[in-house]
Structures are given as structure tokens and as C-alpha cells.
Subunit: 647 residues, 2 copies
């Protein structure tokens, strides 16, 4: 092996920095030496065989390192991570170095075959999979124990808190970013986002989020268009009402099903639909007594599943319930305030008092936002304390906790108004206030505030370095110094959550407030721009993360659309117009509503079942690949059998 | 290739007949010659490289052929079909000839390593995958066109109707069968069925059916035990009623979820859980203009999907609706008859007239059975006319058609009685009559009648051959002659359908007639015996069919359990005891019932989501295998990359 990997030399004339590693100032020399050696060392010696260069800043500090890799190393890495690329015959295949000539745009000197974000993903994967060999601990840090086969990369990341490693992040490509910004949001225009470019710059997870945001906005337009006349002409006829709600319910099923198909088309083109799932390593925060992993047979920390279950059911679940109770308690206070404001208005009847009517709702919306954020930290702490072995399981438990709380927090008051107070006017008003306030707050807290802070910081920096250069003229040192101070983007969780709650506002009570879809569309259009701004200018570039779908969010949106069938049916049943249709018997009314609800639910499930998740074209392409791999397997088996018979 | 396969000689000293092929009397000599040559021919020449021997009967006819294979050929075939076997380290792995030594119980002279049913499955697979080479047609039959790569096996099977091939079936193993019969139903005893032995004799599909039947019977026992006191003491209190129904609803969810786990444990042990899905060839009846298959790129009949959709939506769907309407019409006649019988009883009040009360129900049950059977033929014809390319798609469309009709046919009258007539006494009586009549009819039509016919036939045969030998002493010729006249077992469809309808009787109206579970348990105990008898004595041995689960039936049972939540909630809401709890407001009653129903449905879905489909133990084993294969792939990639770098 040694000979074959040897010429992947660590010294290459045109070193291209891809990833930045910032170590703590004052990290022990022996640690740095050991660490850089492991990164540079040959594969055969258990290293990552990457290139590393210290970044010499003006102060002469040597705590920032740039990591790159030779082109050949990256190609071999692309094979290891299982990258899927387009072939010359337009089919998508897993890239292998031996079949590299069959891939589209491949040439031994075409360094653009892999996008920069792919190269960075490969480097991240290699760093995370760096494993300990003989060392029992990280040199210089005896408390950081290692054992053979233990992933150093993750161990080092765990030491972020211990202070060795400050951060790892991929570098921006100023030229590319400028181009992307221009096509994305640089000019005011109506059209699709450049999703393929976003994908090749930021990776699939983020591109898929923007794809979903765009799709969802387009999908809301019909609801918004149909909703406007209801508001303008104050249509409150039974027929039109029911028609609108029924359309909404079926439409929301259709859009969620169609999204799966569009998502399959996109991720097929990007190659992630075909990408094999990698074997999941334990997440960085996972700890436990050293034992034997029953799956890999290797030594690694083991944590009993029963202990975890106990922590979940005896601590997390009661805590979540307590929080839910508290949230309901706050809600009741809100209703007292509301009543007080109403009484005050009755007494005074001034412009001020009529403005005061909106105050409780606005306060409540702010409180909800604050509670959501505090709860989020608690949920993260608890889920991390539950000590999940896999990142995916951690994420699922976190998302579930946050979703339940956010759902209650945002919608409990609306449910209370609708189904306990039976006050449709108040419902409409609360819905509008909540929706609009939360949208404005979100846009502000998420993008504009960080953007403004970032801008101020850049100005200060520039004053400090006394340069008047534009972004693209910055030297590498300046660029790294600028980027390392930028905020970190923590993934698409909050962005999806915002869309999820918006979907709730639009669909749960759609027949009471048809204008919700209009506001959602308007918000989403600005959301696209502010999110794009956030990605390009506010945060550090995130590592690309391949993904084939939006995961648990698909389930969350589908659950919301099932709940909205129930709420809308009840709302329609409660409307005076429908009540007037059954003057003699409330019983018949309730039974009719129940029947319609069950029918709608049945139609929903049948539709979800009948609409295929992947378009026929993609199905055929996937079947073709499966057929080819089966044929190849058969050939290989025949060959092996023939060989074994010869012996 | 030729050398390596060459010593798989077609002449082996101890030829063991496995499969019987019966050609039509008077088949042209050239066809027989061509056919046997293709079976015997070496793989390198495109043959199946099996062994074939004509069976010389007393009349001197040569239209029956016995097919066998050398042990080596079978082992290579086991690799081709992807058989999964237990290794020496107790893990399950795909069998490969080169790694044969690592498998448990493998020895070069242990011919029991593959069970007889596995050998027969391998031979069936080889025959079905026999492909045409240069021949443009089957010699002697110019109308039977062939083209290179076309599967001859399936083509030949299609010629069953044309008359070349009468049948292909696997031979029974008299010794094994006797042993199996003894442990299965030979002695009256209480205990589990010998599922592993059933599996190794009949294959996984049939063993899984018997496993499900047994599991389902055990699962019904708690319902039956709780149901008995309700009947004996005529408990009609509200609390006990609701408790029973709630228990039933949650229980039915639990048993269906737990079944998935048990099924996973069983099929893991049998190796089918890990078996890779084979690429599906077009089903024998599929026809169309010759075109290019977009998946395989090979020439084969192509049939436009739009045409098929048109046939489905313009012919099949209206036909099914018509049948459903007709079924409802018959139901209305039944109610007229019922009314007439009641009036007659009112007038006469004799023992005869009280017996007459049961007559309409019995007639209706018989009519339903007859209609079901007629409809079944129509559905088979229609689905076959829809011209589905794949057997699985054909099966799904057929099952859907038959299920809808059977569901309506069996339960429409009960729904009518319950929710239109509101007559609980009549409901209970109808339910009992329908359940018991259909059970008796089924047992009779399915097993006892064929068994009796078969017995008579054997007697006649024995008289004919003037021998008084017992079963095991029969000569091969006698055995083949006996078995070729036996009926063909058409798969587990009808058996599952029976269980499905039984599940409907038990769960849909469980709170009205708690005794249904008792009858179901009693029926299932005899059903196990009569089905076992049917498999062992009445029908030809069926080809083993590997399967990992009960497929679409799981979905059907789950759907039934969702519907039963709705029906039971309504029934409880209608009961006088519950009505008495809400003396003032029927409205509150309906709302409470609706709330409870939605809660129960929500609990069901959460339970189905939370209970893992596979036990932890199996999950770990599967993860271990996946990990190993990923590691192996990585190693292989490294090796290939290293090799390609050397060049």
C-alpha cells in the first residue's frame, strides 16, 4: 500500500486553501506537532494525507492553519465519501477513481470537476475519520484519552470546550460568492433561484431548504389568490366558505406529495438520491464506559439503552410536560390581559385605547418568541444529556421536543379562542397579530440584526487594517481574519421550524382567515432574500452536507395537514351559515361534519398512497441502475465461481 | 468460461428427481429434443446445465420428465438466487460458492446443506431464466416467437394454454412429508407448529402464513377470554363495555405491530429478511408490441402505461362499482326476506317459524360466498386484461379489487343494520350467523371437500395399479402419477383473505358481540389442522417462495383496525347505557364520542410509530452486516485505487 499512496505528496506547488483550523492561542507545541503530523501523514501510516500550512498573521501568531489537498487525494476522497456524479451517458453513478474517465467533464487537469464545497466536505470527512493508532492520549493533554481506532477528529471536536481547537470552518470563495450573490439576489427580478449554483456553493441541505422555501411559496400562491376576494368582498356564504376550506385541505395534501416528487428530481440531479448512507459514527458529545460495540465489534464508549430510556421518560418527558403547562399558564394570563384591554377600551373609547387592544397580542407574541428560544436551549441541553449515540437520533429527539412545544406555544391560544371561547372575530384578529408579529420578529432577529452587526464589525476591521479594498481584493490573511469572526450557521432547523409554524397559521384556521396565505407569500418572498443575505454575508460558510430529502420535516408538515383537516371541519361546522342549514337538529349538523371530516381524511390518505413519491422518469432511472448493479453482481459471481472451480 | 463449468456433468450416478415436467401428449419430437437440450446444455452454451430423465410409464409414453441437478450445480444456483444461510459464527450471510466453507453444516458431501424445497426453488429459477439465443421460435411451433434474450421459461409457461407444457411441479419427499405430518398434526397436542420444518419443506411464504395464523390465534385468546364473561353474565354496564372496546382497539394495534417484530425474527432466522430483491422479469401473461425496455435496454414487449391506466379507470373501476352496487342490491333483497321471515314468525309462532328466522341469514351467507367466488374470477380476468408488466403489480391490483368487494359483501349488511336500522339485537344475530356460516362453509369448501375427492381418487388409483402399498412404498412412477393428478395450490391469497374477513368480524363490531373472538379462536384452531391437511395431502407440493413479510396484508389488517376504531366508537355512542349518561344533551354525547375517537386514532398512530418494527437484537444484527459490507467496500475501493495508481 505504502508505495501506491506515496506520491500523493504533501508538497504541491499550487496549494489551494480549503478549510481553516483555528487552534487556541498557547496550545502546546507537542500537540500542534502531533496534530499537523497526523493530518499530513501518509494513509499507510494512518494519517489523512492532506496538506497543511500555517497562516502567518501580522502579529506573528501561528494558531491558524489552512488545510488543502492534492487533486488526486480529493478524487480518492470523493470515492471514499461515495460522491455520485454524472457520467458521459447522462446517468448518475458513484464516482470511483478507476472509472474516472467515464464521468462528464472529467479531465486529469480539470480541477473544477469537484466543486469547492465538495472538496471541503471531503476534507471534513477525512478529518473526522482520522483515527488513533498507538497513542493513548492527545500529546500534551493527558486528560484527553485515546484508544486504537478511536476517531481523533471527533475527539478533537469534543475538545472545542477544552480549548485546544477553537473552530474548523471552510473558506469562502470570494469570486464564486460574488457571482452567486449576483444571480441569487443581486438584482430585483422575478424568477427561480439558482438552486444548482446554491447547491454547488453551499451543499445539498441548504439548497434543498431554499428549494423547499421557493416551492412552498409558489404552492401558497393559489391559496393566497383565492383568499383575497374572501377578504375584499367579505364573502361569508356557506358554499364559498366550504369550497375554500376543501380546496385548501386537498391542496395541502397535493403540495406535500408533489414536493416529494420535485425533491426526488432535484436530488437525483445532484446525485444525493443515489448516495449510499455512510455508517454512522458516534456523535462527538457521546460518552460512556469503554465497551465493545455489538455492531462493529470495536472498543468504544457504550451507554446502556435502558439508562437513556430512563432519562428520557423520567426527566425529559416530565420536564417537557411542565414547560407545556407553563406555556398554557402564560396563555391564560394573556387572556386576562386581553379582557383587561377590552374593558379599558369600553370605558375610554379613545384612539389610544383602541390601539391598546392590540397590545396584549403583541406582548404575547413577543413572550412566545422569547419562551421558544429559552425552551430551545433547555431542549438542546436535555437531549444532549440523554446521551444519544447517533447524531440522527439526537436530532430526531431534539426536533420532536421543540416541535411539540412550539406547536402548543403558537397555537394553544388560537385553539382556546376557537373551541372554548367560540369567538371567531377574536380568532381572526389574534391569528393576524400572531402571524404578522412573529414574521416581523423572525426576519429581524434572524437576518437583519446579524447583518447589521456584521457590517459594523467589517467597518471596524477595515478601519483597523486601514485598507479601503473591496471584498474581492482582500488578501488571504485578511479574508481568514474576517471570516473567523463571523457567526456560525447552525443548520436549517430554525428556518424549517419557521416555515412549519407558518404552514400551521395558514392551514389550521384557513377558513377563518383566508388572508393568512397572502401574508405568508409576502413574508416568504422577503424571507428568500433575507435568508440568502444571511447565508452569503452574515455567517461563516457552512460545510456542505449531502441529503436526499427534508427528512423528519416532511412528516411534520404532513401531520400538520392532518390536524388542519380536523380543525377546519370543526370551524366550518361552527359557522352561523352552516348552522342555519340545520335549523332543527344540531345533531344532524355534528354528524354531517364528522362524516365530511372522515371522508376528507380518507381522501387524504388515499391520495398520499396513490400519488407515487418519485416521478416515473426517476423511477425508471433508479430501476436501470439497480438492474445494472444486479447484472454486474451476477457477472462477478460467475467469475468468482469460475475462478474458485479452477483452483 | 467453458472449461470451468465443463465438469458439472449432466450425468451423475445418483440422480435425485426434484421437479416434474409434464409435456402434452403428442408434442412434436423436435420440440422435445430442443427443450431437453436447452435444459441439459452447458451454461457456456446458454443452457441451464441441469439433469433430465424421461419417466417411462407403463404405457410407454414419454411425456413426463424428471429434472434434477448435480450438487455443485445447485450450490452455484443457490448463489445466483441469493440464498442466505447461517454461518459458523451464527450470523446470516448470502451464500457464495467461494465462501462455502464458512457456512454452518456445509460439507462437500453433505447433500442436506440445501433443503429439498430450496433445490426445487433453484431449479425453478434456472428454468424461468433460460433465455433464447439464436432461435427465432420454438422449434415445431412457429407461432411461438422468440428473440435473443427472451426468457424461454416464461415463454414456455405461457404456452401452457397452447398445449406444449401441461405443468411443472416439484416432487414430494414421502419420507420427509411423513415426518412433517407427524410433528405438525399427527398427534393431538397443544403447542406451537413446527414452523422451521414447515419452512424447510414448503418454503417461507407458506410457513409465514401458518406462523401468522398461529400468532393471530394466540393474539385473539385474550379478546376471547375477556369476551366470554360479557356473554355469560350479560354485562351491559357502560364502564365494562367501554373498557372492553378500548382494550380491543389498542390490542389490535399492538398485535399488528408486534407481528412485524415476530415476523422479522422469523425471517431473519430463515435468511429471507436479508435476501436481496431479484430484478423482476415481466410476468408470463404480459404482452405488447416489441420495443426497448428503458430499464434493461433490451428488446421486449412494451405496453403503454397510458393504455393500462385507461383500461383501469374506464373499464375496471366502473365494473367494480357495478359489482358493488349489485352486492348492495342483493343486500336489500336480504332485508326484505328477513322482514318476511319475521312477519311469518309473528303470525305462526311455531318452532318451524323460529327456525325460519335464521334462514334468510344463512341464504345470504351462502349467496355472499358464491358472489365472492364469481367476482374473484371476474377480477382475475380483468386484472390480467389490464396487462400489468410485473407480477407484483398484478397481485396488488388483484388484491385491491378483491378486498374492496369482499369487504362490502361481508360487512355492508352489518353496517346497514348498525347505522341505518339501529337494531343491535339484529346486528348481534346477523354477525353470529354470518361469522359461523362463513367459517363452516370455508372449512368445508377449502379442505374437507378436496380432501375427500383426493381420497377417492387415490383409492381409484390404487385399485387401478392393483397395489396395496402404503404411501411411502410407492414407486417413483406411481408417486409421479399420483401427484400429477392432485390439485394445484394457488397461493396463500384465499387463506389470508379468510383471516382478514374474520378479523373484520371480530374487530369491527367487537363491543356488540364479544363472543366473535371465541368463535374465531375455535375456527382458527381447526383451520390450522385443515390447512395443514390441505397442504400435505390434498394439493401438489407448491414451489417454495422466499418472502420477508406478509406484504400488502399487513396494510390491509392495519386499515381494518383503523376502520374498527370508528365503528366501535359509534356503536358505544349509540348504546342506551352511554346515552343515559348524557340525558340532557345528545350534542355533548356526539362531541364526546368524536373526541374519544380522535384520541384513540391518535394513540394508534403514535403507538404504530413508537413501537420499532424490528426487535433491537435484529436491528443490531442487520447493522452489523451493513457495517461489514461497507467496510468491505471501502477495502475494495482502496485496493482498486491502489491498483489503478500502480498502472
Amino acid at each position: 500500500m505504502k508505495e501506491t499512496w506515496s506520491f500523493l505528496d504533501t508538497f504541491e506547488p499550487n496549494f489551494r486553501p480549503l478549510v481553516v483550523i483555528e487552534l487556541a492561542k498557547g496550545t502546546k507545541k507537542e500537540t500542534i506537532e502531533w496534530f499537523t503530523k497526523r493530518i499530513v501523514d501518509k494513509k499507510a501510516n494512518g494519517g489523512a494525507q492532506l496538506l497543511i500550512k500555517p497562516l502567518v498573521t501580522e502579529d506573528g501568531d501561528e494558531n491558524i492553519y489552512l488545510i488543502g489537498a492534492s487533486y488526486l487525494r480529493l478524487l480518492l476522497g470523493a470515492e471514499t465519501v461515495g460522491l455520485v456524479k454524472e457520467c458521459n451517458d447522462n446517468s448518475m453513478r458513484s464516482f470511483t477513481y478507476s472509472s474516472r474517465k467515464t464521468f462528464k467533464d472529467f479531465a486529469d487537469d480539470n480541477h473544477n470537476f469537484l466543486t469547492m464545497s465538495e472538496c471541503q466536505y471531503i476534507i471534513k470527512h477525512e478529518l473526522e475519520n482520522l483515527r488513533a493508532r498507538d497513542e493513548k492520549m492527545i500529546p500534551g493533554y493527558p486528560q484527553a484519552k485515546l484508544y486504537p481506532g478511536k476517531s481523533i477528529g471527533k475527539q478533537v471536536r469534543r475538545l472545542l470546550t477544552n480549548g485546544i481547537l477553537v473552530q474548523i470552518f471552510p473558506l469562502h470563495d470570494r469570486e464564486e460568492l460574488k457571482k452567486l450573490r449576483h444571480t441569487w439576489y443581486g438584482r430585483v427580478r422575478i424568477g427561480y433561484q439558482p438552486l444548482d449554483e446554491i447547491r454547488s456553493y453551499f451543499g445539498e441541505t441548504i439548497a434543498l431548504y431554499f428549494g423547499f422555501l421557493e416551492y412552498f411559496t409558489f404552492a401558497l400562491i393559489p391559496m393566497a389568490v383565492i383568499g383575497i376576494p374572501y377578504y375584499v368582498f367579505a364573502w361569508e356564504d356557506y358554499d364559498k366558505y366550504v369550497m375554500f376550506a376543501t380546496f385548501n385541505l386537498l391542496w395541502s395534501t397535493v403540495i406535500l406529495e408533489v414536493w416529494k416528487r420535485i425533491c426526488a428530481v432535484m436530488t437525483y440531479r445532484w446525485g444525493t438520491l443515489l448516495m449510499k448512507r455512510q455508517f454512522e459514527e458516534p456523535r462527538p458529545g457521546f460518552h460512556g464506559a469503554l465497551g465493545i460495540n455489538p455492531v462493529t465489534g470495536k472498543e468504544e464508549p457504550v451507554y446502556s439503552s435502558i439508562k437513556r430510556q430512563l432519562r428520557i421518560y423520567l426527566v425529559s418527558v416530565p420536564f417537557v410536560c411542565l414547560c407545556l403547562y407553563f406555556s398554557l399558564y402564560v396563555m391564560m394570563i394573556y387572556f386576562d390581559l386581553e379582557q383587561w384591554a377590552l374593558d379599558y377600551h369600553e370605558e375610554n373609547k379613545s384612539t389610544f385605547s383602541s390601539l391598546m387592544l392590540y397590545v396584549p397580542s403583541i406582548i404575547y407574541a413577543v413572550v412566545i418568541e422569547v419562551m421558544n428560544r429559552i425552551y430551545r436551549y433547555a431542549a438542546e441541553f436535555l437531549t444532549s444529556w440523554e446521551n444519544h449515540r447517533l447524531e440522527s437520533s439526537y436530532q430526531n429527539h431534539l426536533i420532536l421536543k421543540v416541535l411539540v412545544f412550539n406547536f402548543l406555544n403558537c397555537f394553544a391560544s388560537l385553539f382556546y379562542i376557537a373551541f372554548v371561547l367560540f369567538d371567531m372575530k377574536l380568532l381572526r384578529q389574534s391569528l393576524a397579530t400572531l402571524l404578522i408579529t412573529s414574521q416581523i420578529l423572525n426576519q429581524f432577529a434572524e437576518s437583519l440584526l446579524p447583518y447589521w452587526l456584521q457590517k459594523r464589525h467589517v467597518k471596524k476591521m477595515k478601519k483597523h487594517t486601514r485598507s479601503l479594498k473591496t471584498d474581492t481584493d482582500l488578501s488571504l490573511v485578511e479574508q481568514v481574519n474576517l471570516e473567523k469572526e463571523m457567526g456560525t450557521y447552525f443548520g436549517t432547523f430554525d428556518d424549517y421550524l419557521e416555515l412549519f409554524l407558518q404552514f400551521g397559521y395558514v392551514s389550521l384556521f384557513s377558513c377563518v382567515y383566508p388572508l393568512a396565505a397572502v401574508f405568508a407569500v409576502l413574508n416568504n418572498i422577503t424571507e428568500i432574500y433575507s435568508d440568502a443575505l444571511k447565508m452569503c454575508r452574515v455567517y461563516k460558510r457552512p460545510f456542505a452536507e449531502p441529503t436526499a430529502n427534508i427528512g423528519v420535516w416532511q412528516l411534520a408538515f404532513e401531520t400538520m395537514s392532518v390536524i388542519s383537516v380536523v380543525t377546519n371541519c370543526i370551524l366550518i361546522g361552527m359557522s352561523p351559515q352552516v348552522n342555519a342549514l340545520f335549523p332543527d337538529s344540531k345533531m344532524d349538523l355534528v354528524l354531517t361534519v364528522a362524516l365530511v371530516e372522515h371522508l376528507l381524511l380518507a381522501i387524504k390518505f388515499v391520495m398520499a398512497f396513490v400519488i407515487p413519491d418519485k416521478p416515473r422518469e426517476i423511477q425508471i432511472k433508479l430501476a436501470k441502475l439497480e438492474f445494472e448493479s444486479l447484472e454486474a453482481l451476477k457477472q462477478q459471481q460467475m467469475k468468482l465461481a469460475a475462478e474458485s472451480l479452477k483452483e
